[in-house]
């Protein structure tokens, strides 16, 4: 207690400090001394007393009220000494609330906060992993620079903790320490390096986050973990997936050569019919160029594909941008369907997704053309969504669909939302310039709009017509005359200015009207907007040069008005024009060229999409949304000319063995592990008993058979107590095998799934070889007592293989297992006797599956080829 007040007094010797000093000793002194304090302090007084009380319930009440104050943003910092005493409370809820308080105020009261440190240090050694983790969280969150060494130590220890949850928190703590003290960078990178090797799916996302924040440029740390991250990706929690995918996108752009090379040349002239025959083009491409995709590159593209099905919009967007930035252009098409799906989501998600689609649709129209109607606007959409949809519709417009679109636009123009109607008019203008076939139709449509009742619509039409006429210097005298009449009614300055400019430009085509317009304008000059005044001056000057007989006096009158205008811009312009056009002794050589200067051929304006320049930002990022570089934005590098050495990603098994040890230990204390495998087992036993009446008889016979053998193997493996993970993979194998038999049984009845004979035969050989790889890797994982997630991964892989495309799996196996678990280099890889049933089951499963006629048909041809290559490359390893 006395140390408490002492510490505080030392820190800040103000009047308040003495108050608080008294406060700290209030258990001794009577509480009557507080009469002097304000009512607010008095209110806190009872909180203090409650915190001092012996009853937990009173303390809890007090803490709850304090948290309420924090939540409302009220200052509760003066309670710090009273609160911090309760940091060691036995009651977990009080403790948590004290943590909340500490994290909020420790930065302001650093010295007092130090009192709590020892409690955390003790908690870091607690047998309960939740307590260890939360102690680390608070310790790293209180932002007191003095404890940096303690934090560093705690992080290092936690990074080697047996619990993956604690290690996850350690990964989070890395970023906190880095923001508190960037000096620690080197040490922290060491921890990151260590955690990157972690096999737990829990840690992966957090450590990549730390990597991105602390050392995004240390791409070399990723090499060895690249394949592992790719393979873990599906199982990582969704937030981690987003971060990892973004990081891997950057990684891929530095490590692999561009898969686009061929496409780039073709892109421009192929844009419109890109989608329809990409399949064919793919083939011709393949024949022409020697480019082969790095298997690791392929691995990433393939393993992210299932995530397009995620319920989390951020994950879908992350995969979409990955495909956009690193996949061959012919394969990126699959993302459009998923992105369009996101448009059903809430308006914020729609907003971001539409922005990204807008950027994409400029470059590769074909991708979204089939979904044109999904971008049709509803009257209930918010305006920002409407304009984005409109933007996309414009980008997608081409000769084929423009007539449908223009009909749709007609509805939009009449919308009650005038801002949107105006945007539609601009859109029509853009379509008119982009697609020459409809220019005249659009123009006449816009002219019709000039008689619209709404001023904003008319004004926007005038502006767009001006742009269109400028592009088409043909005879449009009628339209100009029509617009000149509008000057009487229209009041929007931009529109008036546009009309005046247009008349000035074409004053020789409408010789009768132009001087008359000038006359009217001269009358109303003083009451016009500045923008309009400038154009009146312009018009005057142009008429003076072309038709000085009629307009000389008028122009001079206007110039005089301009001379005394309030706006200096207008005065300047007036002076300038007068010098230029009215010849006098002072004017130099320039006035000779006045006509050329004023009536020069002006370049037509380009009507461009506002999303044109956004593609240099990585899609899906904040910078892309803002169209400005956000702090901490990491540039996506260009593809390297020559791929860096791909062998850096090979992982040696000896290294792995070391890495696995902590994860392996962690597994033992993990309670869920056990029940999971149990449930798997139970599932099997109940499998045969479950009512599968609809299934065919022959199948059930096979099932029984399988069930028998599985019984055997489960006995076998249960006699081997330490091979838990093996056991699990066992059951998985059996399940997989069973499923094969099922699919086999069904295969005959399923019609649409028959495959050509050629690929089947080649398949079987692939699968054979991969089965050998598989089994060796399996035994490897066994002896290493690998972490649960990993073994699940492997078994999943197996399941996948058994069930669906063997081709793919062949690469999977070779990529994941062959390099990681090269059987030649490791004597450990010999199968243990306990494992043999699973091996047999595995092999059986493979044989069964290869002989089955069920082969999924959706694999793109490029995929097939890649896999063949990959398998061939990997064969030497097997032998």
């Amino acid at each position: 207690m006395s140390s408490n007040s002492f510490a505080y007094n030392e820190q800040s010797g103000g009047g308040e400090a003495t108050e608080l000093g008294q406060e700290a000793t209030s258990t001794i002194s009577p509480s009557g001394a507080f009469g002097l304090f304000s009512s607010d302090l008095k209110k806190n007084e009872d909180l203090k007393q409650m915190l001092e009380s012996n009853k937990d319930s009173a303390k809890l009440d007090a803490m709850k009220r304090i948290v309420g104050m924090i939540a409302k943003g009220k200052n509760a910092s003066e309670l710090f000494p009273a609160v911090v005493k309760n940091v060691a409370s036995k009651n977990i809820e009080i403790k948590k609330l004290v943590y909340v308080y500490l994290v909020r105020y420790a930065e302001e009261q650093q010295d007092l906060a130090l009192l709590s440190i020892s409690t955390f240090q003790r908690a870091l050694k607690d047998p309960n992993q939740l307590i260890r983790a939360s102690a680390l969280r608070v310790l790293s969150s209180i932002r007191v620079p003095i404890i940096v060494p303690i934090m560093m130590l705690a992080i290092k220890e936690a990074a080697a903790d047996l619990s993956p949850y604690v290690r996850k928190n350690a990964a989070h703590a890395i970023q906190k320490l880095y923001s508190l003290d960037p000096e620690q960078k080197e040490m922290l990178i060491e921890v990151i390096e260590k955690l990157l090797k972690d096999k737990s799916i829990l840690v992966a996302g957090s450590v990549v986050m730390a990597f991105e924040e602390v050392c995004p440029d240390r791409i070399d740390l990723i090499h060895k973990n690249y394949r592992k991250l790719c393979n873990l990706l599906v199982d990582v929690e969704e937030w981690g997936q987003v971060v990892i995918i973004h990081m891997l996108t950057r990684y891929a752009r530095t490590q692999f050569v561009s898969p686009w090379r061929e496409d780039d040349g073709l892109e421009d002239n192929e844009k419109s019919f890109y989608d329809s025959d990409d399949e064919q083009k793919e083939k011709t491409d393949k024949r022409k160029k020697p480019y082969t995709m790095d298997p690791d590159h392929r691995l990433l593209i393939r393993n992210t594909k299932p995530l397009l099905q995620s319920r989390n919009a951020a994950v879908v967007m992350a995969v979409a941008q990955l495909y956009w930035h690193i996949s061959p252009k012919s394969e990126a098409g699959i993302i459009s369907k998923s992105l369009v799906r996101l448009l059903r989501s809430n308006r914020e998600v729609q907003y971001i997704v539409l922005q990204n689609i807008a950027t994409m649709s400029i470059q590769r129209k074909g991708m979204f053309e089939p979904y044109l109607k999904s971008f049709y606007v509803r009257s209930t959409d918010p305006t920002m969504i409407k304009t984005l949809k409109l933007e996309i519709l414009t980008n997608l417009a081409n000769e084929a669909n423009i007539s449908t679109l223009l009909r749709e636009f007609q509805t939009y123009v009449k919308s009650q939302d005038k801002q949107f109607a105006a945007a539609t008019i601009q859109t029509i203008g853009r379509c008119a310039t982009n697609i020459s076939e409809v220019t005249d139709t659009c123009l006449s449509g816009l002219v019709c709009l000039l008689s619209n009742r709404d001023e904003i619509v008319v004004a926007e039409s005038v502006v767009v017509i001006k742009k269109l006429l400028q592009m088409q210097p043909a005879q449009h005298g009628e339209i100009i005359k029509h617009m000149a009449k509008l000057l009487d009614s229209i009041t929007v300055p931009v529109a008036r200015a546009s009309i005046l400019w247009l008349i000035g430009e074409n004053c020789e085509r409408v010789p009768k009207i132009a001087p008359d317009v000038l006359r009217k304008m001269a009358k109303s000059f003083t009451s016009e907007d500045d923008l309009v005044k400038l154009q009146i001056l312009n018009l005057g000057a142009k008429l003076y040069l072309t038709n000085s007989k009629q307009t000389k006096l008028l122009t001079q009158y206007i110039l005089n008005l301009g001379k005394y205008d309030q706006n200096y811009d207008i005065r300047d312009r007036t002076r300038f024009i007068r010098q230029l056009i009215v010849p006098n002794e002072k004017s130099g050589a320039l006035s000779k060229y006045a006509k050329k200067i004023f009536l020069a051929q002006k370049p037509a304006p380009l009507l461009e999409s506002p999303f044109k320049d956004r593609d240099h930002f990585q899609l899906g990022t904040l910078s892309h949304t803002l169209n400005a570089k956000a702090a901490g934005y990491l540039e996506l590098s260009n593809w390297p000319e020559v791929a860096p050495d791909p062998s850096v990603r090979n992982v040696e098994v000896i290294d792995l063995a070391k890495e696995w040890t902590p994860a392996g230990k962690a597994k033992n204390e993990n309670p869920t592990k056990k029940f999971y495998s149990e449930s798997e087992e139970e599932e099997d036993s109940s499998d045969s008993s479950s009512d599968s009446g609809s299934e065919s008889g022959s199948e059930s016979g096979e099932e029984d058979e399988e069930g028998d053998s599985s019984e055997d193997s489960s006995e076998d493996s249960s006699s081997e107590p330490e091979s838990e993970s093996g056991h699990q993979s066992d059951t998985e194998n059996r399940r997989a095998a069973k499923r094969n038999s099922k699919t086999k049984g069904k295969g005959d009845s399923k019609d649409g799934k028959k495959e050509n004979e050629k690929s089947k035969t080649s398949d079987s050989s692939n699968a054979e070889s991969s089965s050998v790889e598989e089994s060796s890797s399996d035994s490897e994982s066994e002896s290493e007592s690998e972490s649960e997630s990993e073994s699940r991964k492997v078994t999943k892989e197996k399941e996948k293989k058994a069930k669906q495309d063997r081709n793919r799996l062949a690469t999977d196996a070779s990529l994941l297992d062959l390099d990681d678990f090269n059987p030649v280099s490791t004597p450990v890889a010999l199968p243990t006797p306990a494992l043999s049933p699973s091996l047999i089951a595995d092999l059986e499963g493979l044989n069964l599956s290869t002989s089955s006629s069920v082969i999924s048909v959706w694999i793109p041809s490029a995929d097939l080829r890649a896999t063949h290559q990959a398998t061939l490359q990997q064969h030497p390893h097997v032998k």
Binding site: I201, E348, R378, E682
Partner: protein
């Protein structure tokens, strides 16, 4: 990533703030208020706002703004999705996501936010993990707690957190084991003036309510899985199995959750279950117009169409409406200019209609465009796409669960242009 969170109500009061890194002053919200003012309409407040030192990413949900403060580059969807998850969690815990509910449970809200984010990075967002860490408030529990002194906060790490199936906790027990699936399909459509379909598509979801003990492993198969064109899954679904066999195989979370959402392939023609006859006209130079709308069934597969509501955003110049419905009741809000006609069931014998006069502001020009009609309806026991669940099998547990599947078709964004 996420620095701070502010909750703001419709009248612009910041009623809750939470900081995960150092404290950011409330004044940062001024930029948000500025943008809100500019937008005029809550729907139009831009979700991403850039300020000199921070970026504000906000969502609008249940009349509340969730405004998060960001300092560095982050995928905006990441933040938006997370904020929605926060709102979902509040909804889940308190039954509603309203200012009152949040204020009443401010301590639980704080504890939740503390668990959901660490240093701005999501830590635990699965509802069953959170529920083990922080128990949802119930009257019974608060009474028990006050007597026994036990707390709402769990003291062990939730089992789900470490397992490969974080969405399910261990040791679930029910006396009645039940599994219900609701197949809900929504028709999104734009119908043009003449009654032809401009755009129509079917979006569906399967919501599940699973109350099963232990660790059941379910597989759900369809009669016609090919109908499903684009599907998004709850993380529990084994993707590989779907790819190869078109079977949904999963260990379900406990309680209510959305199993999948899907889109029916757009090649299939969409049956539009209702038609609308309408004539809305405004007379030139006169302060009145006519309004006449009739609704009838069409392609309804012999099922009754119920819960029909028609909502119309009338033009600003409309002052009032004098209408007579043959069925149901109508309201017109002269401030927002929204006409709502609650029709109820459609009986083919006597088609419901709504007729009458529209009073316009005198002197104002007549509206250019007729307002479009937004229609809501519901058809029980029908999935309009024809999707049918074939069977549900359970593995891994011995008991026999009670299984049920329900089909509903609703109008989604169903709009008739007039």
């Amino acid at each position: 990533m996420i620095h701070s969170l502010f909750l703001i109500n419709c009248s612009g009061d910041i009623f809750l703030e939470k900081h995960w890194k150092s404290v950011v002053s409330q004044s940062v919200c001024d930029y948000f208020f500025e943008a809100q003012e500019k937008a005029a309409d809550v729907e139009n407040v831009p979700p991403v706002i850039s300020t000199p030192h921070h970026y504000l990413i906000s969502i609008y949900r249940d009349k509340l703004f969730f405004v998060s403060v960001i300092q560095t580059e982050v995928p905006p969807l990441f933040v938006i999705e997370f904020l929605h998850r926060v709102a979902d969690t509040f909804q889940d815990y308190f039954g509603e996501c309203s200012e009152a509910a949040i204020k009443d449970n401010v301590v639980i809200v704080y504890e939740l936010l503390e668990e959901m984010l660490d240093n701005g990075f999501p830590l635990a967002t699965e509802s069953n993990i959170l529920k083990e860490l922080i128990k949802p408030p119930t009257i019974l529990r608060s009474v028990v707690n006050s007597i026994t002194g036990s707390s709402n906060v769990g003291d062990t790490l939730p089992t789900g957190q470490l397992s490969n199936i974080p969405w399910r906790r261990a040791g679930v027990k029910y006396t009645n084991n039940e599994a219900y699936f609701d197949v809900v399909e929504e028709i999104d459509a734009i119908i043009d003036k003449s009654g032809s379909t401009v755009f129509a598509e079917i979006q569906g979801v399967i919501d599940a309510c699973i109350k099963l003990s232990g660790m059941p492993d379910l597989s759900l198969s369809f009669m016609n899985p090919r109908l499903l064109d684009d599907v998004s899954f709850h993380p529990c679904i084994r993707f590989k199995r779907w790819e190869s066999e078109r079977v949904l195989s999963f260990i379900p979370p406990d309680g209510n959750f959305r199993l999948i959402s899907y889109r029916v392939s757009s090649q299939n023609l969409v049956a539009i279950p209702v038609y609308v006859k309408h004539s809305i006209s405004f007379k030139e130079n006169s302060s009145c117009g006519r309004f006449d709308v009739t609704i009838g069934p069409k392609q309804n597969m012999g099922k009754t169409i119920e819960g029909v509501t028609v909502t119309v955003h009338m033009p600003k110049v409309v002052l009032n409406m004098n209408l007579t419905p043959t069925q149901g009741s109508y309201t017109f809000d002269p401030v927002t200019k929204v006409l709502t006609w609650d029709v109820g069931k459609i009986t083919p014998q006597k088609l419901p209609s709504l007729k009458g006069l529209v009073n316009l502001q005198s002197g104002a020009p007549k509206p250019e465009e007729n307002p479009s009609l937004n229609i809501q309806f519901k058809i029980q026991q029908l999935a309009i796409s024809g999707l049918k669940v074939n069977r549900l099998d359970m593995y891994g547990e011995k008991y026999k669960p009670f299984k049920g599947v329900k089909y509903v078709t609703k109008a989604g964004k169903f709009q008739v242009r007039t």
